[in-house]
C-alpha cells in the first residue's frame, strides 16, 4: 500500500532530481585530483615534449670494474634505467674506435713517503679496468635547463645512474651531454 498518496494519485516521495551542492562538490573534487596529478607530474611539459625532443649523445664512464665485464657490451645494445626499466638509449661506438667501450687500466691513489698523492695503475688490463662509452638517446632540455630523457628521467654530468642491458648491470657516471651530430 503506497504511502502519502496525494489527491493526484502520485506518491509524495516522488522528487525530481536536481543538480545540487553535493554533485558540484564531487565534480570539483575530481577535477582537482586530475589537475593535481597533471601539475605534480609535469604532464603538460611532457605532452609538449615531443616537439622539443631530439637526438643526443650521453657520454659516460665506469671505473674499477672487472676486466671481463666490457666483453658483454656491444654497439647497438639497448640501455635501460635499472630501477624503472625505462629505455635510456642505445650504446654507440666509442669515439676513437668501433668498440662499445674505451678500456684502460684502473687506478687507485696512494700517499708516498713524502706525503704526495700518487696515482697507481693496475699492472695490466686483466684485473680491474676503467671504461668510457656513449649512449645515443632521445631527450630535451626543459624550461628549467635540465636535460630529460622521455620526460621522466632527468640526467646531468656528474650524476651516477644505475643502468642495465640484457646481459649487464652497471653504474655509470655521466660525463657529457651533447646533441647528436647529423
Amino acid at each position: 500500500m503506497a504511502k502519502n498518496i496525494n489527491k493526484d494519485g502520485v506518491a509524495a516521495t516522488n522528487k525530481k532530481a536536481h543538480f545540487n551542492i553535493i554533485d558540484a562538490a564531487i565534480i570539483i573534487l575530481i577535477i582537482s585530483i586530475v589537475l593535481g596529478i597533471v601539475f605534480r607530474s609535469h604532464i603538460i611539459e611532457r605532452l609538449w615534449a615531443e616537439s622539443k625532443t631530439d637526438d643526443y649523445v650521453v657520454s659516460f664512464s665506469v671505473d674499477n670494474i672487472r676486466y671481463t665485464t666490457p666483453s658483454y657490451l656491444e654497439v647497438g645494445d639497448e640501455v635501460y634505467f635499472a630501477d624503472s626499466g625505462d629505455l635510456f638509449g642505445t650504446l654507440m661506438s666509442e669515439s676513437d674506435n668501433v668498440n662499445a667501450l674505451n678500456i684502460t687500466p684502473a687506478s687507485e691513489f696512494f700517499t708516498d713517503a713524502n706525503g704526495n698523492v700518487v696515482e697507481v695503475f693496475y699492472p695490466d688490463e686483466e684485473s680491474r679496468v676503467d671504461t668510457k662509452g656513449r649512449i645515443e638517446c632521445r631527450g630535451y632540455y626543459g624550461e628549467d635547463g635540465g636535460f630529460s630523457i622521455d620526460g621522466r628521467h632527468y640526467v646531468a654530468p656528474g650524476q651516477s645512474v644505475n643502468v642495465k642491458t640484457e646481459l649487464v648491470t652497471l653504474t655509470i657516471r655521466i660525463t657529457d651531454i651533447v646533441p647528436l651530430a647529423k
Partner: protein
Amino acid sequence: MKNNNAVAEKKTAKVKRRFNFIDVLIILAIVLLGAIVLNLFFPNGLFKSSSVEKKIQYTVEFVGVDEAFVDKIKENDSVIDSVAKYNLGSVMTVDSSMPYTELKYDNEAGVGHLAAFEDKYNVLVTVSVVAEYNEGEGYSVGDRRIAVGEKLSLRFPNYASEGYCVSLSVEG
C-alpha cells in the same frame, strides 16, 4: 482506493533519475584520470612481453674468501638466493685457484703491484639454471635478475656469501 494506489505505484515506478549531462561529465573525468594514471605508471603498456625459458650458466665471484672456506662449496650443491629464497640452480664447477690480491704501492721502487694474500682466494662458482628470458630485459629466476654485474647473496649447503656475477652464457 485500490485504483489510486495502483496508479500511484505505476507513477512511482516510472520516476527514475535520468542519465544526464552531469553524469557524463563525471564519467569522462574519471576515465581521463584513469588514463593519465595508467600512462604514468605503465608507459610501456600494461602487458609484459611473453618470456621464454632457457638454460643458462652464470659464474659468481666471491672475493677474498678465507682459506678455511674455499672447499665448502661442492659440485652439484644447490644454490639458494639468501634474500628471496629462490632456487637459483646447481653448482657445476668451483675454481678456487686464484689468490686474492690488492693493489699496493712500493714506495722504494715507486711503482704499484698486485700483492697476493697467502690465506685468501677469489672463488669462481659456475651455476646452471633454467631462467626466464624476456627480450630487452634479459634473464631472471622469479624476480631475481641474473646478469653480469649483479650482486647476488647466495646460500649453499655449507657456505653463504655475497658475490658478483662475472659471466653468463646460454647452454645449447
